[in-house]
Amino acid sequence: MMLDPRTKMVIVVCLSSLALIYNTPGQLLLVLAATIVLLFIFRFNLSAIGGYLKPFLSLMLFLFILQSLFSPGGQVLLAAGHLSLITTGGLAAGASVVLRIIAVTAAAMLFTTFSSRDFILGLVQWKVPYEIAFMVSIALRFLPLFREELINVVIAVQLRGVALKKIPWRQKIDLYRRLVFPVVYRTMLKAEQLAVTMEARGFRAYPRRTYLRRLNFNQVDYIVIPVFVLITIILIAW
């Protein structure tokens, strides 16, 4: 379905708001299901979500265990003497945290169904100053850039003969500790160089700028935006 990027941005805001406000696994599952349906409609490669979530798997597992152990309530499933270890309430809270992360990540994937230039055009046509629109777009690019830098470094380290998977944990932690600062510094340096090259190509030479293309709302956009906003308000108020 061809929707204006601004419509997709509204949908992302609606889905993310629901994912952040909802607290039960059932509700969050519904938000996730709706998001997956939308991603399918927008021809997003669903298998790619796994790739995006992979780096967060250990964090999700950690949060799940933490929430399960420390959120009280419900029926006790496992206890050590008088101390309840696992309760149905704890498991629900753990599942909710994990589902929330997955739902928000999946909703954010909708941003990848249009280009970063369309994102800028969308914001600018919503009267956001163009400097801020570019800044937000480039900031969004910073995370993938950092991820890319990390992948490059991990490849480069292995190509120097270091078997990252086989070295002992202590050595591995020490290696990563030594690599973190150079990688962060390198990414910052690249971001700074990008700002310099943008300025060298006349960025901010004038208080306003023109654009090669323009986004235009279609009839379907005028229907989808109010429908999503209305449904979200009703669901939150309900």
């Binding site: 970063s116 190509l159 120097r160 190509r201 700028r209 023109t210 654009y211």
Partner: protein
């Protein structure tokens, strides 16, 4: 009035630091093409940054002297205002390209100039036609080959239409066709009254220039005018008899059978139908136009990219059975962009990294690090941050950091980028020595004189396929 007037220019990156530029004086006329050359690390890129005003972003930098562009003192101008006077194409295209498509990238500058959309489109189309990149219009710049990225970065600045254009080593990674198109474009710009300053190591690439400025240790040591460009000695190796006739067939080290690779969301393969056998006794070179799949193929050979079709064997075992580290211990790989493989905090640490992790004795590590620092003339930067080196120095460091591990086979992707003739010669000598000691080698390069001198076998790729496979001195059998 002179278009560019530089008076007693000096620059230090930090107070108390060395003077990277010292007492630079020169002037350029309207409609003149000037080449700036000199050994790597001599201050060429710093000079470009001073002229384009981008050194202002280094708060610790100290600039003295005067730079007038069309009568305006650029040291007193704002950065974005300066862009209307000077356009600069930086050495590393990866730090300049950020748009989702080539068209958006090129449109960025005219959009900043507030041109109406129809004029922006006109400029984008014109620049694409001049540089022959119209077919890349909807491509994502980050997924292009190194040479294509350079062309897009140049196009993005040409679209700004500045009176003065500065190019920091744009030609080095272009194929012959790309170089020719850039040469024609620059000559047209000169005729239109633009002033062009081009940094180049290989003066053959810019034989059409009017003058040459030679920098050494931050000072202008020579100026050559009236079209009398420095003659570059073109050394070509005596054609050797086909090695097949003088040595028995060698055991293949890397063997590629019917290999193909598709990038995600691409219907056309980046490489396809590749059959290639490489041994440890010869130096092989891969050449071919930009975007022909050379880098993709080498990345497949080391397992960074998994072949979509076909199979690659490393000494008889499928490459998929090796981990990246196992491949890395046997094959040393030098990336096209040295930034991708430098990750340590100091130059010495970078060279020692592999040795430390292989458990070598500290004394042996020290000795080897000293040798490579001296050989590649990096000793002065022993404790410097690798990212602060010039592009040529980074290239030397990346090569040293791989060679120090003494791999059985070397793959070098555009190793001569950023290297001056003297350093190319040093690298060449080292590679010869390594080859004589039994290290196999595959070199990807556009530098045909380097390839002719060093390679015994030349594989030419085009549109993802092997077009020819010949030994220096005669055609040999191949499976392509």
């Amino acid at each position: 009035m002179k278009t560019v007037l530089v008076k007693d220019l000096s620059y230090q990156y930090r107070p108390g630091g060395p003077r990277i530029l010292e007492g630079i004086d020169f002037q350029l006329n309207r409609g003149e093409i000037v080449v700036v050359t000199g050994p790597s690390g001599c201050g060429k890129s710093t000079l470009c940054c001073c002229l384009s005003g981008t050194t202002r972003h280094n708060r610790n930098g100290i600039i003295t002297g005067e730079i007038l562009i069309n009568g305006k003192n650029i040291l007193e101008m704002s950065g974005s205002g300066l862009a209307l006077e000077v356009g600069m194409v930086f050495q590393d295209p990866d730090t300049q390209l950020f748009s989702p498509t080539v068209e958006d990238e090129i449109a960025f500058a005219p959009e900043n100039l507030c041109l109406p959309p129809e004029h922006i489109q006109e400029r984008v189309d014109d620049v694409m036609d001049i540089l022959g990149i119209a077919s890349l219009r909807n491509a994502n710049p980050s997924q292009l080959s190194g040479g294509e990225k350079h062309l897009v970065a140049l196009a993005a600045v040409l679209a700004l239409d500045p009176p003065v254009l500065i190019m920091d080593e744009v030609m080095s990674q272009l194929d012959a066709n790309g170089k020719q198109k850039v040469a024609i474009a620059l000559q047209k710009l000169r005729d239109a009254g633009k002033t062009i300053i081009a940094v180049e190591h290989n003066l053959e690439n810019v034989a059409f220039a009017d003058r040459v400025l030679i920098l050494k240790d931050g000072k202008l040591v020579d100026r050559q005018g009236d079209g009398s460009l420095v003659r570059v000695e073109t050394l070509t190796r005596e054609p050797s008899p086909c090695p097949e006739s003088i040595c028995p067939p060698c055991q293949p080290f890397l063997e590629i059978s019917q290999a193909a690779f598709y990038y995600p969301r691409k219907t056309c393969p980046a490489v396809t139908g590749i059959n290639l056998s490489l041994d440890k006794k010869h130096i092989t070179a891969i050449t071919g136009p930009n975007g022909s799949g050379k880098t993709t193929l080498t990345k497949m050979m080391i397992g960074v990219l998994q072949a979509s079709e076909g199979v690659i064997h490393l000494e008889g075992r499928p490459l998929s059975e090796y981990s990246l580290a196992q491949v890395g211990r046997r094959i040393g790989y030098v990336f096209q962009n040295p930034d991708l493989q430098l990750f340590c905090s100091t130059v010495a640490e970078e060279i020692a990294f592999g040795l430390v992790n292989h458990g070598c004795q500290p004394a042996a590590i020290e000795e080897k690090v000293d040798f490579y620092l001296d050989y590649f003339e990096l000793a002065a930067y022993r404790n410097s941050w690798p990212m602060h080196l010039s592009q040529g120095e980074k290239q030397r460091l990346a090569i040293a950091a791989v060679l120090v591990n003494e791999p059985e086979f070397l793959i070098l992707d555009e190793p001569t980028t950023g290297l001056d003739d003297y350093r190319k010669k040093l690298l060449e000598e080292y590679l010869y020595k390594a080859a004589r000691l039994g290290t196999g080698m595959l070199i990807v390069s556009h530098d045909l004189s380097f390839v002719n001198r060093i390679a015994e076998r030349v594989v030419v790729m085009e549109k993802g396929r092997i077009q020819s496979d010949s030994r220096q001195g005669g055609e040999c059998d191949h499976d392509a």
